[in-house]
Symmetry: C2
Subunit: 424 residues, 2 copies
């Protein structure tokens, strides 16, 4: 398509694309915008290497494409403007979470990458928000690297989970790269490799000065907890990873308390998700921390987000053309848009989607903000910690019905009269 | 745990870990091993950078760890041996698809990465095999980059899909990196950006010498096909991406044939999966190629594979100790193992899981082969094309009942008497 725009003399056309979802995934009443930092990093660093250009040029499909096109690629940089929702912002179907305005060939090229980056982190952040909500005031750790869709996905899942309220990750590289708090525990292999469970526990606790978490379920949870008590250990925490977690947590808590280890924290793991956590919370299981892997790092009940990136506006020589597709069940709304959120008493009361050139409604906040101008990030961008704080506050300001696990509640989204008229 | 092995003087212990799944994911009657090439590449290239070591050393958890440990990391290389199933091999629960023997700290370190790499590609290859089977003799293209879990996942999903029988991908970078055949089509934005649909079609078809695929559903499929016929175009293919694909494909085929465009191929896309493809095939829709995105690149019905990596054997000073965990519902089988597959008349009749030091059964093939010795790949490794051929033959040699979409059939897996006795 870039070769087509180039060959057709269409490079002077400036295009605006918007990224949004048409409907909510299963079990979701809202989404949490995430991945913007990686998306902007991609746009800032995008170039074609000489070897890539040589490879493209040799593809049979390109045999009619002029050599000027490949020269154009050689000098290629993304020079567009980007507006986006802040990371951590809850959003809804048909609301653009990102808008790109750039020469048409540039805006087109970045479609797949922007979608892959933003769809994924938004998927994980939206799942993490549910899990964190289910855990109530108990912290949730992200433990899913081994089940993520490869190592890059593991890294970005840890980031998105932290953004949406998890307190840390077990993936050391994510801690290093994003300054996410790290916490892990031993594996069962540590116990199996030692001469005895007692020796396994005591050597680990000594090395890490009791600031560690001992794993209780390699053989028998109740024997293991007696073993660590008899050895005089006072670990920061213990973890149970299998069996009936509610029953085991009660029995372990009881044994620890009777031995005076009242400050030893109890961590549970093992195929947890928001529903199992809600059950454990409802059963008053004495769990201090939930560690969640597979369900979180893959968003297993809704692993894909149907984000799309659609052309809404063209400008050439000062003339603006607002466009839409009418495909059955996949139509779009024309024109560059803005999303306005109204509050009532500190709680979000509804959103308005309007054309970007309409006057601002009174007393509503614009959710799309400029984040990149002429290919360079607008500074300062919020840090991950700031985005995490924003996310906590913004989810806290949603109507409480939206946070229920059943995800049956809806939120009022209105289209402006001008947008409705233009669409018609 | 590495610091623990180091501090505890356990480095001389040689450990054997096996990677396997405990049960099949939903809707799967078999799995397809994939990702070995990336796993071995990871093991061969694994080192610690100086800056990473400095960062680790400053983590509060490591304050009691001796500086000798960090010197050990500085010289770290993976020096182990690896046995694995060839990529493309169908396998079943409790069968190790990979076995690592190495000094214990090395074998432990690589757990998370090996799982993330192999779980993911195996997930996608196993899904792709179902989709390819549903399509029968019609080719399936992988179109899912935008919905994959980030750009690395998109790249590896394209690879795994091709391995398991897809004919190509729309992700150009996957074509460049893995020599996977590329095929794509225009987006709706190409049509919207042009002065008219007729102009959009003809300029694209001219540039690519009719060797392209025109997208019909931006406004109205039947108008679009009339437009391209009236313009005298003879595109290689046309694509329908929305609406009732069976009805639209019949109407489009009919119009094309009546205009003499009998060799123009008909490609359909739009949230396809193996069940929707089976329905289209059953309804005799005149589709030539299926393009599958989201469902394939995320394995949306079963997005995570519960692969685990478990310690089975330890060796120190010539003394071997075979170990297992007994956790409730998560127990393992002890000892290094081999998997043997028997054929009857060219069809797989059953697998035997035995201890590696048992004599080979008569007339069965060993599925685990040596792929790395002392940290270096055994050469030659099969190319992606060879692995793809092996996959096609190996899936073709499964009992046909296993290939049904209902995935209700089972396959006989036997444990050797010696392994059963040892486990008891």
């Amino acid at each position: 398509m870039m070769a087509g725009y180039f060959s057709g003399g269409m490079l002077p056309i400036r295009a605006t694309f918007e990224l949004f979802v048409r409907r909510l995934p299963r079990n979701r009443a809202y989404l949490v915008a995430a991945g913007l930092d990686q998306a902007l990093e991609y746009l800032e660093s995008l170039t074609f290497l000489g070897e890539d250009i040589d490879w493209l040029r040799n593809q049979p499909a390109f045999r009619r494409v002029s050599s000027e096109f490949f020269e154009y690629l050689r000098a290629f940089r993304f020079s567009g403007d980007v507006w986006a929702m802040r990371e951590g912002t809850p959003f809804f179907p048909m609301e653009p979470m990102l808008r790109v305005s750039a020469p048409i060939a540039e805006a087109q090229l970045v479609e797949t990458a922007l979608l892959a980056i933003l769809n994924f982190q938004t998927t994980i952040a939206s799942k993490a928000a549910r899990i964190v909500h289910a855990a109530g005031d108990r912290p949730v750790m992200e433990f899913g690297a081994r089940r993520a869709h490869g190592l890059e996905a593991a890294l970005l899942a840890a980031r998105a989970a932290y953004l949406a309220g998890c307190v840390g990750t077990s993936f050391v590289e994510a801690g290093r790269k994003f300054a996410i708090p790290l916490s892990g525990t031993m594996a069962h292999s540590w116990i199996l490799a030692a001469p005895s469970e007692a020796k396994a526990f005591s050597s680990y606790a000594d090395l890490f000065d009791q600031q560690t978490v001992l794993l209780l379920d390699t053989f028998d949870v109740n024997v293991a907890v007696k073993t660590l008590i008899d050895a005089g250990l006072r670990p920061q925490g213990v973890r149970i990873d299998s069996g009936d977690l509610a029953a085991a947590s009660r029995s372990v808590r009881d044994q620890l308390d009777r031995a005076g280890l009242t400050s030893t924290r109890l961590i549970v793991s093992g195929d947890l998700d928001e529903w199992k956590i809600a059950d454990l919370v409802a059963s008053r299981a004495p769990v201090d921390t939930f560690a969640v892997g597979t369900a979180l790092a893959t968003s297993d009940d809704a692993p894909a987000l149907g984000g799309v990136y659609k052309l809404v506006e063209l400008e050439e020589g000062g003339v603006i053309r607002k466009v839409m597709k009418r495909s059955e069940g996949k139509g779009t709304w024309p024109g560059a848009k803005q999303v306005w959120r109204s509050d009532e008493g500190g709680i979000a009361a509804g959103d308005l989607i309007s054309l970007n050139d309409e006057p601002a409604p009174s007393s509503a906040r614009a959710l799309l903000e400029p984040v990149m101008r002429v290919g360079r990030r607008v500074t300062p961008q919020p840090s991950l910690e700031e985005a995490r704080g924003h996310c906590r506050r913004a989810i806290g300001a949603l109507p409480s019905r939206l946070r229920g696990l059943a995800a049956e509640a809806t939120y009022p989204i209105t289209r402006s009269a001008a947008l409705a008229t233009l669409t018609r």
